[in-house]
Amino acid sequence: MRPPVEEGYAMQMPGTPHTRLSRRGLLRGVAAAGAAAALSGCSSEVLSGLTASRETAGSLEFWNLFGGGDGVRMQQMLETYQNANPQVDLSAVTLAWGNPYYTKLSLATIGDKPPDVAISHLTRMKNLVEADLLQELDPAVLARNGLGPDRFTARTWQAGLVDGRAYSIPLDTHPFVMFYNTDVCEKAGLLDGDGALAPLDSPEAFTDAMRRAKDVTGAYGGVVAFISETATPWRIFQSFYSQLGGQVIADQGREVVIDDAKATEVLTFLRSLTADGLFPSAADYQGSIAMFAEGQAGFFFQGEWEISTFQTAKTPFSMTLVPHLYREGPYAVQADSHTFVLPRHPDDSPERVDRALGFVASMLDQSKTWAEGGHVPSWQPFLESAGYREMKPQSNYASAAEAAAYDAEGWYSGSGSNFEIVMGSAVGGVMNGQVAPAAAVRQMRSTLSGLARTPSPI
């Protein structure tokens, strides 16, 4: 079919020069008309879209990474702010969390088109500071906006300082927690007189509780996700490993300091749970949620943000701290914090900064709404109120904020980073039974050493 068409076209063209001319003229006309329309008709929107020059008086652009229940609550909080400040032209952008978010934030800032306020994980914020992408927050300006250090949880505020200087304002702490099915635990005799879970204070007590829960559910004692998922296995490992006092990297990530004995001990323990059938030996993120919601597992280990999922599913559940299994060190649990940061902005007028900080203060004032989603608020005025203490099960694990084991500093570290992927992959391999604990530790060391040797690209 192809040849005839081409030949026909080729033969026609030379014989009809006039048509060609007029056709060209027509095309020209159309192009000119189109250009004119583009310039006049829809000029304002198209042009401002092309040049991104939407810098009207009193605008505020806010970037965040909240989906799911968090996204809904953030939306409510934004509406409250907008109603109280109708003169501010607020535009909120929600992006998928993880590496792409930080890439976009970095590139937007380098390209001089940053948002006025952005959310950053505390563990990622330091690399943004390192890359000189964040505006330092002057203590006097913070105090003027009612955001002095004394109004935040001490551990969270301290953890956020870089060389003693503030670049971020913490919104919350989101620890790794233990969810438990109250029906299952009651039948298994794991609840005390008040209906709370009796403490599990050693690996043996933990294993025993899982076994008893398994007898009740008939399927599994507990569940944690580690298939197609690297953050969750890293979090459970880091929680127990930190209780043993273990460190993974030091000296801004330039040194790998894994303690073989401690890491092997935790990995062997985690593997024993899946090997004995107390935990499923394969569970992905959604699958682990489904198993706990359907009562196939009595315990579920995940960030506290999944609270809304089980409230919606009407699962009979409560939440508490990840147990303190290793008593060698003080209590520790993997956690990170959401913080507000002010990316370096070409417009550094005090009005813009005050507007941004006023917005942050308004968000913090709504910590109650935020805490309903499970996060432990950093805002002391609310954290210390009776309103929070009565908020159950959220206040059960409030002390996790003071025991937070943040990811160690390094250019390749932080929430959702390569560091977590490397560590979580190895832990997942152990739990799945594919990699022996000792081999996993070797793998962690060799991969991290490669990253540690690489000069920081930031």
Partner: protein, 312 residues
């Protein structure tokens, strides 16, 4: 192509330099028509590729303006010494080996069957082609749901008939075949359509003549259909190998390169280095190395096509 072959023969008959010469009268409009494409190609393909090549010799960072310090062949040397580079390159090759043969053979068989159906032919064409129009994210969600351990469709179905299934995406040995299966289901339609078109170009008389000579259906397929589809098969194979080498979406979405990096493709390695570790220069060097691999594969196929065209 037909113009090219006709013109040289026609030219001696023309008066040289005459304005009506087809060569000249075609030349300028052709450039005009090609210009928009050429400009875009220059701006979005050649330009970035050259920039990537330059960048690969520097320690360029994603979060620092400019190219950074000169690294010479340092990035290349580092890549060639990195076991992760070689393992992810092997994952890509392994994926290509797993997907290319079924995507060619199955597409051919299904096209043959769909071509022979007399009633409801549109249905079969649509049914085999439909998955191809789905975005990769949708395909990933559907198949993650089916592969879910304990609760997933496949595991539930297999346990009903008493077969214990592995963790499809969780077992390093099964994860890649599972991704390959998903990909075959998803992209089969494209090759299927190419084969269907090829089948319809084979003159019916050949089948009639051979039937009169006593050829059975199997002989017809072997002696007429397969040889007559030779060029289609070459095209399908080239396109398929290149498409499979370029795999990224399925792994990124379904396994994030796991379990324990067992399905991380070379492009995801580039992505991890460039966008996660901010090491643009190193990522560019790895891209260039991968480009050489694709170039070599394409060159082999191209020479095959050349030979085939000479034979025809």
């Amino acid at each position: 192509m037909s113009i090219e072959t006709v013109t040289p023969r026609a030219r001696p008959a023309e008066v040289p330099g005459s304005p009506a010469s087809p060569r000249q009268s075609h030349g300028r409009p052709a450039i005009g028509f090609l210009l928009p494409f050429a400009l875009l190609y220059l701006a979005f393909i050649i330009g970035p590729a050259v920039y990537g090549l330059i960048m690969s010799f520097f320690d360029a960072s994603l979060v620092r303006p400019g190219l950074g310090s000169f690294a010479g062949f340092g990035n290349y040397a580092e890549a060639l010494q990195d076991p992760d580079f070689w393992s992810s390159l092997w994952h890509t090759v392994w994926f290509t080996i797993l997907t290319t043969p079924p995507l060619i053979v199955l597409a051919f068989v299904l096209a043959l069957l769909a071509d022979r159906v007399n009633r409801g032919r549109w249905f079969f064409r649509l049914a085999f082609f439909a998955p191809f129009i789905l975005p990769s994210a949708v395909v990933a969600l559907i198949w993650i749901f089916m592969y879910t351990p304990e609760l997933g469709l496949i595991e539930a179905a297999l346990s009903k008939i008493g077969i214990a299934s592995p963790a499809w995406l969780g077992d390093p040995n099964w994860a890649m075949p599972s991704l390959a299966l998903t990909t075959v289901w998803w992209t089969l339609g494209f090759n299927f359509i190419l084969y269907l078109a090829g089948l319809q170009e084979i003159p019916r008389e050949l089948y009639e003549a051979s039937a009169i000579d006593g050829a059975g259906p199997w002989q017809q397929i072997r002696r007429i259909t397969i040889p007559m589809l030779g060029r289609t098969t070459t095209l399908v194979a080239v396109l398929q190998v290149i498409a499979s080498l370029k795999v990224f979406d399925q792994m990124y979405l379904m396994t994030s390169g796991g379990p324990n990096f067992a399905t991380r493709s070379i492009l995801q390695y580039v992505y991890d280095q460039g966008f996660t570790n901010f090491r643009l220069g190193y990522a560019a060097a790895v891209s260039m190395l991968f480009f050489l691999v694709v170039l070599a594969v394409s060159a082999v196929w191209f020479s095959l096509v050349r030979r085939q065209e000479k034979e025809v």
